[in-house]
Symmetry: C2
Subunit: 331 residues, 2 copies
Amino acid sequence: MTTYNKLVLASRPQGVVVPENFRLETATVAPLTEGQVLVRNHFLSLDPYMRMRMEDTKSYAAPQAIGETMIGGTVGIVAESKHPKYAVGDEVVGMLGWAEMGVCDGTLLRKVDATHIPLSAYLGSVGMPGMTAWYGLTQIIAPKAGETVVVSAASGAVGSVVGQLAKLRGCRAVGIAGGAEKCAYVVNELGFDACIDYKAGNLAADLKAATPDGIDGIFENVGGTIFDTCIARMNPFGRIALCGLISGYDGEPMVINNMRQFLTMRLSMRGFIVSEHIELWPEGLKELGGLVATGKLKFRETVADGLAAAPEAFIGLLKGRNFGKQLVKLV
Amino acid sequence: MTTYNKLVLASRPQGVVVPENFRLETATVAPLTEGQVLVRNHFLSLDPYMRMRMEDTKSYAAPQAIGETMIGGTVGIVAESKHPKYAVGDEVVGMLGWAEMGVCDGTLLRKVDATHIPLSAYLGSVGMPGMTAWYGLTQIIAPKAGETVVVSAASGAVGSVVGQLAKLRGCRAVGIAGGAEKCAYVVNELGFDACIDYKAGNLAADLKAATPDGIDGIFENVGGTIFDTCIARMNPFGRIALCGLISGYDGEPMVINNMRQFLTMRLSMRGFIVSEHIELWPEGLKELGGLVATGKLKFRETVADGLAAAPEAFIGLLKGRNFGKQLVKLV
């Protein structure tokens, strides 16, 4: 019998996530029934949204159940198939969770081509994070050439794509990231016009200097003081794509003082979850895939080795320790 | 020579507005030149937005200049005309400010018919406040029958129209107002399904009881804690029309703690100024005028007597002392 390792949610976090919130278990692959596919996962994606799923509060999705495999995006290769659409050896993206293998009925499974695009990129720039950036930028901010777009967590899997797509659309792209190294990468490698190190302690002044014409669009991943400071720089009819609020996921208060700006500047803001806009994925993935395949969209990955490393890597992600897309290599 | 009284902005408020921020002056009507109209104002409209104009901060409009007649909507009758479109005796709505008379070139002047609609209503339900309600409800909240719409300052010139229009569209309309008398009026006279007295001290619990199915649309006039409490009750894909933040106009902090709700519930919010959407006024005023003329849209007015009473009436408006539309009767 084939066995594999998986990580289940052992307990819900009280404040910050700790390694004890997860438990490593060994599972056995049962014989496939008609319509099922067995996938050996090569990479697991770690994403901030998982933190929200760990809580038992009303949100856009049911909470992650205690004792069940942690939710998560995966890429891998079909190891066995009783499904007419999938054959052994197919490269597939799926939602098989924090596990070395997974059996599924084809739901949320998608064949991909790793000839010109690395398999891992289907969890990043050409996957959910890339689509998140694409959706928020093109469907909510919808920037015109010459406008200024600011994105927080700019070196991350989503933020890095937001700024590069904005540049391709003729915008001024300004990032916010933690630390000089990340900021240098965002400007020098990704080609943003500027990047502000929020850890340097001069956020408001640095933001003002980096956005001389104000801000027309905010792609928000962080929330809290960083977000509030950006709101104060918004131009009339500015648009805000609210994608994440990672600074508050552990329960810290996340106060917005600049609400008046929404009125005086007639701002619009919309929170979104990219999985609710599947109808736009083909269009977005086509652009993203083309840009990655031709080297026009750059990305960086932080890769943890082996499933057992996933909890610490996830905790690091929530603290901003990763640099670019956080992955776990399973094979 | 004809003389008249007017009120000018004497000084900008430091915190709350005080009577000394205004100064009564006497002006003389100069002989009309070609294209000019002289209007004797019958009513002056007092509106919360004027508080923002009194400040010298970046906003959607230039600040009110010191020493100039306070800005404001008026209805009156043409007393003299050298304008081909206006004749003596015409009833007109204009923006002639806090003054007993005014000369203008026809800009922002509009002939109205007081046969079936009282002249004063053109400053309320069939004027800018009514259009504000109509725009925010129909263009931003766009509620479906069966949805729940909550509006703050529900007995006021704008809020009262919001709830009645929502009811006409098959929604559950819930108001928030200050005091038992206003709340009784909102339910018994205006026909809202419920109205919460925020002064009663049980806002969160009362709101929960009044919105058993959550909230799909917020029409926000007040801001601060009232707004924050409503946000916490929003359903997925809820819409917020941000019209005013009167609780913060004197500079009090206006903190929003429930920003996370925007993300988890995928809320959208838009701040707006109805004067920027003039193209929709004919459609909106047609509906509002028809409803007022047939008695289907009810309103109440608080009328101060004489121009000299305007400052105190305005200060009362900012503190919620008015009941319905605040007017100043000039003739």
